[in-house]
Each structure stands twice: as C-alpha cells, then as structure tokens.
C-alpha cells in the first residue's frame, strides 16, 4: 500500500526523524576529520613506538592541515545559523535534574551493564559533556598549538608549559573521542544514532527511547 494514502485503519508515521541539520553535519564531519588527522600525526611525536610513521616533516605538515580543519569546523554552524547555534549552546550548557542523574549512571552504562537511564532532551547529558569538552579543548588546542608554533617569539620558559598542556589536552581529547566513537559505532544500544551525523536522521523508536523529552516536543512533526 502506498504510504501517502490516508487510510484510517493504519497509523502511518515516518520511520526516521531528522535530528541534525546539514550544516551541522558538515561541521561535525570536518571537525572529526581534522581531529583524527591532528591526533594521528600528533601521536607520532608523542609515542616512540610510532616514530617510524613520521615521514620526516610530513606528519607535522598534516598536523597543521588537521588543525586548520578543526578551526574551520565551527564556522559552518556559526556562519549558517547563528541563532540556531545560540539555542544549541543554551541547551548544551543547561543540566537538568534528569541530566545529573544520567551522569551518575553513565559510568555503569559505559561499562556495558544494563542501566535504566532517565529521559533526556535533544542532547543527553553525556553528549552535552562531550560537546563542552570538545569546545573547550578545541579552543585550548588553538591556544597551546598556536603558541607552540610561535614559540620562537616567546620567552624560552613558555615551551615546557605549552607542550605539556598540549599533551594533556591531547590525552583528554583522544580518550573522549574514543568513548564518543565507541558509542556511535559499536555500542549496540546507541549505534543507531550514528546515521544522525550522516543523513541527519535517527529511527523514531530510537528517538523515543533515547531522547524521550525531545521526542515529546517534536510530536507535532510526527503527526
């Protein structure tokens, strides 16, 4: 039967629901690519076991390409829809009672135990934490990385602080990225959300299950 026909005996709902807009997806992809490039090429200098992969100066040049991609990523959002960004930022930075409860249960969830999570909005508390970490860490990367590039014009004493801060950021960033990628690509519960950053949609059941509060507010779109 054609889905478009209005038949009373059948409640027809679209199977997928849009979560992430195109410019947001582009921004996300550019950021991910830039981060992976910077992380991969940075680790070559970080861990001796990878020293063979440096390719002379090549890895350092690619590190800068990664950095440029990371820096450009937010402009896809800021340039396209500043108001939308402000709204997203307000949501991200607001932690409700459910969010705090979510964070308390998150470690057990991350370890793969069946935990019942409290209902969440468009972004769950874990996503919010990741978003905040990425935002501040990226700003930090620009700062410490940029100053490292300019260090010949800075006092000699600056270098140790900069490189160690950059390293700590890299460690935090890479661990965060791994957990984030694990949930999006491997974890059976959350895996379905991955398509949200590809074509922008998640299955309706997923939205209902994982973002109940948000789905509630989106009902008008489903009807």
């Amino acid at each position: 039967m054609d889905e478009d026909t209005n038949n009373n005996s059948l409640i027809i709902v679209p199977k997928r629901v849009e979560r992430i807009k195109l410019h947001e997806r582009i921004s996300h992809a550019v950021n991910a690519l830039g981060f992976l490039l910077a992380a991969g090429t940075g680790l070559v200098l970080f861990y001796k076991g990878l020293k063979k992969l440096s390719g002379g100066t090549r890895s350092r040049q690619l590190h800068r390409v990664g950095a440029a991609l990371m820096i450009s990523a937010p402009f896809f959002v800021w340039g396209k829809d500043w108001q939308g960004w402000k709204k997203t930022w307000r949501e991200i930075t607001y932690f409700s009672k459910e969010d705090r409860e979510f964070l308390k249960r998150a470690p057990m969830y991350m370890l793969g135990f069946p935990v019942k999570m409290p209902p969440q909005g468009k972004f769950n508390a874990g996503q919010k934490m990741n978003f905040l970490m990425v935002t501040f860490n990226s700003a930090g990367f620009v700062l410490t990385g940029g100053l490292l590039m300019l260090r010949r014009h800075l006092p000699e004493k600056a270098f140790p602080y900069l490189i160690i801060a950059h390293d700590i950021q890299a460690i935090v960033g890479i661990c965060g990225f791994m957990a984030h990628a694990y949930l999006a690509l491997l974890h059976p519960d959350t895996r379905p959300s991955f398509r949200a950053v590809i074509d922008g949609t998640v299955p309706v059941e997923y939205a209902l299950g994982h973002h109940a509060l948000w789905s509630e507010s989106q009902k008008h779109k489903l009807d």
């Binding site: 001796k48 890895s59 135990f113 260090r151 160690i164 390293d167 700590i168 661990c175 694990y182 059976p188």
Partner: protein, 342 residues
C-alpha cells in the same frame, strides 16, 4: 676509545679558518647574514648552514678607563731617580702574562720628550712605574678573545632526550652525537632543550617545513682516521683532536700553565660538564665571560614531559581502549543473557 676536540681559546687568533673548512668539507653552503654583528664575528650565532661560529669577546672597557695612580713617592722618586716628571712610557700592563697587552700612557707631550732627548729604556721606565704607580682597574684592560662555538657532543645530551623520533643518537664508542637528517621531523624540540643553543632549524616552527642541523664532529672523517676539518685547518693549533683522555691531559697542562701566568680563573670546560663533553675548551677566565653556562644542565622539564606526562598519556589511552573493549564484550554477554531469559 672516545675521542674529543680541544679548543684552546688562549691560542685562537680568530682567523675563522675553521668556519671555512667546516663549510667546505660539509658543503653546508653560505648564508650571508644580512646584518653583521658587532666586532670580529661573521655570524651573530650558529645557523642551519654554519655549524661553527668563532665568537668574538671584548672583555673589559676602553683603555682610557685605565686609571694610573701615582703613589705618594712618585714625584719624590722621580726627582731622585729620573729627574723628569714627564715621559712617555710603555708599560706591559701589569700585565699581561700574555704579551700584547701593552698600554701606552702619555704623561707628557711627545715633542717635549723628544726635545729634551730623554731616552730611558723601556725596562727602566717599566721598573719605575711598577714601583711608583698602582693601576686601579686593571681588570678593565681590554682583551679580544675568540671562542669557536658549536656542538659540544655531550655525554648527557639534552637534545637526544628531547628528540621524539631518535633522529639524534650518540656514538658512545667514538664519542659524538650524530643527527640523522632523514628521520628528523624538524619539530625543534632539540633546539629548545640544548643548553648550548646549538641545533638550528632552517625555518621557523610555524609551517612544519624544514629540519635541524648541527656539527657532526666530522664523523665521516674521524672514522677514516682523519682529523675533523676545522681542527686540521687551524693555523696556530688552537684546535686539537685525539683520544679524549689525552685531550683532557693536554687541556689540564695548559690550564696549569695559564694559572702560573696569572690567569687564576683558567678552567678546562667540558671535563665533567654533562657527564663529560667531547669538545673541551681551555678558558682563560670564567665560562660566563665566553657565553658558556657555568653549570649546564639537561632541562628538568624533559623528565616531566617525557617520563611522566607521555607515559601516563599512553596508559590513559590504552586504559580507555581496554575499558571500551570490556564494555563491548560485556554488552554482548548481557544481550545473550536477555535472550536466554525469554
């Protein structure tokens, strides 16, 4: 058997033959500096293409600063001894254990002197002034000195500890620190770490192009029983090369000699610094007079960075991976349990 280069700066005449020889042998090319530094020095500092620079030091101030004070007996003795209170004298400035520190003090006009045809021997005059004057700021006597500057080939080499890809390694058998240019990433960490500011990049740190370079102690030559190019070229033999133990002995003898001649701060730099340098320098006075750190150290931050932060980082990343792996398997198990209970 470790080898070493001995630089005797009390013998160096600043001809820079060693700079030229280094460039010729290693084909480093020229980098004509746009601004020439003050004094008798070709480059402000080492560069990517200049692995040794003969640094120029002018110790002390202009000779007019020299104050010759007559003692109370000066005039009295002059009357009895020489009868004239105006004369030109040459005075081997207190002086110089090294000849060449001649100080001329004109205590009267030359014409007067000539007209009265006073002709004291330098010896007489010197003796007289020795006894009847004191020169108060004798340390202000200007000295022009030269120190050939370049890689010290440290035993505890900070550059090696800093290098993330082991492009710098030490040949412990012969005693030099080599640089593998093809593996160098140009990160410049060695530049930041070296206590002697030796390695130089051929570009800044901004774009990620360019590598580092430095003296290689002519490893190709010494492996063929030849002297390093710079050593071979030195006209007054201010540079020597040989077994390190012999170079230390040679240096120590020279220090004893200098001390005897009044250079009480003479010092053999590199005998014990940083576990022993393979470039030893005979210094007639304190290291800081010649732009050398008094007590060079491998910077402390290298330990924090490379021995604490990085290993902890690797541990954290590996730990996260393990945790996620556990989660994945645990999920599968929990899933199959759910399946069983149905």
């Amino acid at each position: 058997m470790q080898y070493a280069k001995l630089i005797d700066i009390s013998k160096c005449v600043g001809c820079r033959a060693c700079e030229v020889a280094c460039k010729e042998w290693n084909e480093t090319g020229i980098d004509d500096p746009k601004e020439h530094p003050f004094g008798y020095q070709s480059h402000e500092d080492l560069t990517y293409r200049t692995w040794n620079v003969v640094k120029f030091f002018e110790l002390g101030n202009k000779k007019s600063d020299l104050i010759v004070n007559k003692t109370d007996q000066f005039n009295e003795n002059l009357e009895t001894d020489h009868t004239k209170d105006k004369l030109l004298f040459q005075y081997d400035a207190l002086l110089g254990p090294e000849p060449g520190n001649l100080i001329e003090t004109n205590l009267g006009s030359e014409s007067e002197l000539e007209s009265e045809e006073i002709n004291y021997s330098v010896w007489q005059v010197t003796k007289f002034f020795n006894q009847n004057t004191n020169i108060t700021n004798q340390h202000e006597i200007p000295k022009w000195m030269f120190r050939k500057h370049g890689c010290m080939h440290c035993t505890e080499a900070a550059c090696i500890k800093a290098c993330p890809v082991d492009a710098l390694t030490r040949n412990n058998e012969l005693g030099y620190v080599r640089l593998n240019v093809s593996t160098c990433t140009g990160c410049g960490y060695c530049v930041d770490a070296c206590p002697f500011d030796v390695p130089k990049l051929d570009s800044g740190a901004i774009w990620g192009f360019g590598k580092v370079s430095k003296c290689r102690l002519c490893s190709d030559r010494i492996q063929h029983n030849k002297q390093p190019a710079c050593v071979q070229s030195c006209p007054p033999n201010a540079l020597e090369f040989g077994l390190r133990s012999e170079m230390v002995k040679l240096g120590q003898n020279r220090i004893d000699d200098l001390k005897e001649r009044g250079y009480k701060d003479a010092y053999l730099y590199g005998e014990n610094e940083l576990g022993g340098l393979n470039v030893l320098t005979v210094l007639p006075s304190k290291p800081k007079d010649f732009d050398l750190p008094e007590n060079p150290k491998v910077p402390e931050y290298l330990n924090t960075w490379k021995k604490v932060v990085q290993p902890l980082g690797v541990l954290a990343i590996a730990g996260t991976a393990l945790m996620l792996g556990f989660s994945f398997v645990n999920n599968l198990l929990q899933g199959s349990k759910k399946g069983d209970s149905h």
